[in-house]
């Protein structure tokens, strides 16, 4: 592929290696590709931040001269993709969901509904926990909500660890099951956060 500005071969890079011009988006790149990182769950958050800043400094539309409309347009597209990639990979849970998507199961888009594969006992247990939380919410008992949240958060972490191990072993089914549970825990924690918010 040739650079739109100097015709040099760009090898699908975001920046032309010849003249440094920001290139149009190339479809099919994963968020890991965008940030130049290996597609694994274990990554150093500091390195991710540094990489993001380094790329922002090169790709952001504010870095393109005010007079070059085409370069600016590409810069907006590239930076939007970079921001999305960074936001997705920065959070360990979202990163796991994204890795699962790369393995073919998209739970990021899927906003709910019943999923086969979750044991009935788990669903019943979550239902009970929810009811318990609703009662606490009615009493405006923030401390009790936080205590329940702490327990669920521990299970969320454990579920995430299970999911990450399954993702590495390419056991997509086990990873899906674990992440579905993680999602239930997350929703529970959002509810706890909302109760805390009201008490701020």
């Amino acid at each position: 592929m040739g650079c739109w500005s100097c015709q040099a071969e760009t090898h699908a890079a975001a920046l032309c290696p010849g003249c440094g011009a920001v290139q149009p988006l190339v479809p099919g790149k994963s968020f890991f590709d965008v940030l130049g990182l290996a597609a694994v769950h274990a990554l150093d958050p500091k390195a991710l931040d540094a990489r993001y800043r380094e790329l922002s400094l090169k790709l952001h539309p504010d870095r393109v001269g005010p007079s070059d409309a085409r370069a600016r347009r590409h810069a907006v597209e590239q930076t939007a993709l970079l921001n999305d990639a960074y936001r997705t990979l920065k959070d360990p849970a979202v990163r796991a969901f994204y890795l699962l998507k790369l393995q073919g199961v998209d739970l990021l888009q899927d906003s709910g509904g019943h999923h086969p594969g979750l044991p009935l006992e788990f669903l019943e247990e979550m239902m009970e926990a929810r009811e318990g939380l609703d009662a606490v919410k009615r009493r405006r008992d923030v401390a009790a909500a936080q205590a329940m949240g702490a327990k669920v958060d521990a299970r969320r972490r454990a579920g995430l660890d299970t999911a990450v191990a399954a993702l590495e072993a390419k056991d997509t089914q086990a990873a899906t099951r674990a992440l579905l549970q993680v999602r239930y825990f997350q929703r529970f924690l959002e509810e706890v956060a909302a109760i805390e918010e009201e008490a701020l």
């Binding site: 800043r53 922002s56 921001n83």
Partner: protein, 611 residues
């Protein structure tokens, strides 16, 4: 100073400035030799231009301190704190409480009825302030100023941002960027100090409160989170104090002028209490001693409200208060000692205040304007701003599905796939909303459009991809695309601040005229009056003395009248003047004959001897 200037055809734009368009006052700043500096903004050489616009009976407009002086006598013709009305409609619960103004007719759109002409919108009032700043800056540079970075509170929604942008256009400014105020403040500090770390910016202005958590590392300024309250500020302190005084004096409902006088005095007392423990409140012929402690108890609930917003912002940024490297104070209201003490308590450290909290936002805006227009500064700090409120779509049951969460870094583009839910459904209504709440009625509606031509598939089979793209200014574009057919619809979200594009266009034209010269506006008015008078006379004479003219002469005269009439409808005073001159020439023989006839009539019946 360079003697030769190299002409750059791509940059005929003159100087770029940073403008802090504030609730109580506004400032303009620019960068000189790498340093930002505020320019004189009012005619009395002050750097702060009170954001007050007075409309006089003769149609003239006064901005700034002179306007503020007129507020007490002409409360409804003098608009103060117009920023609070930006992007709001009369339907918004708070709007009518904001001042003793006369709002014109129809619901929805805010229009102030003022002396000297048509009702004006908040956009036009703000444009008067911007125009005044532009003129002052042009006087300073002795050259054109056509580009500006204008600051807005981080918590401004899309409608408020769009209204601000439109005000800039109406004032004849190309708005390079709408910059969040706290970000601007941090920019002013960051560049001065070259510091690294995580900072909180606590910005309590006249009418708005903002908090931002920012991180500055390796030349990248990253906004981690923002929060705020677009209806909380120093004006509330004034109102609280005035309210307490009214209560003490047993005043139930003073008239508009009385309220203005009380608020004006409350403001003075508030400022004086910064340095003195006790001040005499004196208004409406009465006095009352107010201690600092009394004042502080009046404002305590407002100060406490800022704490809630700060805690939420810290949580969003996942930063502990103790982990901050500094707290920056912005806004005149942070001069109030109780506010400083509260901030110190909240963040556990003494806040930074070595840049004037009134100027710091304008200085940061000037820095950003310089960065955006000056190719030579590419290697300097980069600002990564965030979107302040979540954006989403209405789905089944009036529930909002968030597509872009708040505090996402800009620019950003996100796509989400939706499907149909009815048998035979061949169109989909896309309803774009802004806000954090789950239900449609609790969020702000930004736009609605319909994607039609979806193939009639069983429910759940069609796949409509909706893409939200927000540019670096926080302005949103939405695109919906059915994936099997490629049917597509897109809108740039034009938030409903109530003005159509044509209205903006008309204001723009008016603005250009204004910008040309106020004298020419006055001349236009004068020529129009003259045209009306002359036309009236000429037509009267045609009726009374038309028989003195041949048919051809009468036609020529009527034609000349039409030309004048036409010109008077236009905006070019020189054209009216020229048409009047032609009419005068065409009518001269007629006038002579009329004169002769009236002389004849006057003479008839008199004897020559009498003369």
């Amino acid at each position: 100073m360079a003697l030769l200037q190299i002409h750059d055809p791509l940059k005929p734009k003159g100087h770029a400035v940073g403008i802090d368009l504030g609730t109580t006052h506004s400032l303009v700043a620019s960068v000189f030799h790498g340093k930002p500096r505020c320019l004189e903004a009012d005619v009395d050489h002050a750097l702060l231009l009170p954001s007050v616009v007075h409309y006089a009976k003769d149609g003239s407009v006064v901005v700034g301190n002179r306007a503020r002086a007129l507020a007490a006598q002409h409360p409804t013709d003098t608009i103060v704190s117009v920023k609070r009305f930006m992007g709001k409609s009369l339907g918004d619960a708070e709007t009518r409480k904001l001042g003793a103004y006369r709002f014109s007719g129809e619901a929805g759109l805010v229009r102030f009825e003022v002396a000297g002409g048509q009702p004006v919108t908040p956009i036009e009032v703000s444009a008067e302030i911007l125009r005044a700043l532009k003129r002052r800056a042009e006087a300073h540079f002795n050259g054109k100023v056509e580009q500006a970075v204008i600051t807005v509170p981080a918590y401004f929604d899309d409608a408020q941002r769009q209204a601000t942008r439109d005000a800039g256009r109406v004032a004849g400014l190309e708005v390079l960027r709408l910059l969040n105020e706290p970000t601007a403040a941090a920019l002013a500090y960051g560049l001065d100090k070259g510091s690294q770390g995580t900072f909180a910016v606590y910005d309590l202005g006249g009418g708005t409160f903002d908090i931002s958590i920012l991180e500055l590392v390796d030349g990248v300024f990253q906004v981690k989170s923002t929060g705020g309250d677009s209806a909380l500020g120093g004006d509330d302190f004034d109102r609280a104090l005035a309210g307490k005084v009214m209560e003490t004096w047993g005043l139930l409902s003073p008239d508009a002028a009385g309220v203005q006088a009380l608020l004006f005095e409350a403001r003075r007392v508030k400022e004086a209490l910064t340095d003195e423990p006790s001040v005499t409140f004196s208004a409406l012929g009465r006095t009352l001693q107010v201690t600092r402690a009394e004042f502080e108890s009046c404002i305590a609930p407002y100060v406490a409200r800022t704490g809630t917003v700060c805690r939420r912002a810290l949580r969003d940024a996942q930063v502990e208060a103790g982990a901050l490297d500094g707290v920056i104070l912005v806004g005149g209201s942070t001069r109030v000692p109780a506010v400083r003490a509260f901030v110190q308590e909240l963040f556990g450290r003494e806040p930074l205040g070595d840049i004037d909290p009134d100027q710091v936002v304008a200085l940061g805006a000037a820095v950003q304007a310089d960065l955006l227009t000056n190719d030579a500064r590419q290697d300097e700090v980069l600002l990564l701003d965030v979107i302040p409120l979540s954006l989403g779509l209405e789905t089944m049951g009036g529930v909002v599905e968030k597509v872009i969460p708040r505090n996402s870094t800009l620019p950003i583009s996100r796509a989400q796939v939706f499907t149909t839910f009815q048998e035979g459904q061949n169109a989909m209504d896309i309803h774009v909303l802004q806000g954090e709440r789950e239900l449609v009625e609790d969020c702000r509606s930004l736009a609605r459009f319909r994607l039609s031509g979806i193939p009639q598939l069983p429910p759940g089979a069609a796949r409509v991809e909706v893409t939200f793209a927000v540019d670096a200014d926080g302005i949103l574009k939405v695109k919906a695309r059915e994936q099997s057919t490629g049917v597509e619809q897109a809108v740039t979200v034009k938030p409903s601040h109530g003005l159509t594009d044509e209205e903006i266009e008309t204001m723009l034209l008016d603005a250009i005229e204004h910008a040309e010269d106020d004298i020419s506006a006055r001349q236009l008015r004068e020529q129009r009056v003259e045209a009306t008078r002359v036309l009236h006379d000429a037509r009267k004479q045609l009726v009374d003395n038309g028989d003195l003219l041949t048919a051809a002469e009468a036609e020529a005269l009527k034609a000349a009248c039409s030309v004048v009439e036409e010109a008077a409808r236009g905006k070019d005073h020189l054209a009216i003047q020229a048409a009047l001159k032609d009419l005068d020439a065409a009518g001269r023989p007629f006038a002579e004959r009329i004169m002769d006839r009236s002389m004849g009539r006057a003479l008839a019946g008199h004897r020559v001897e009498e003369f």
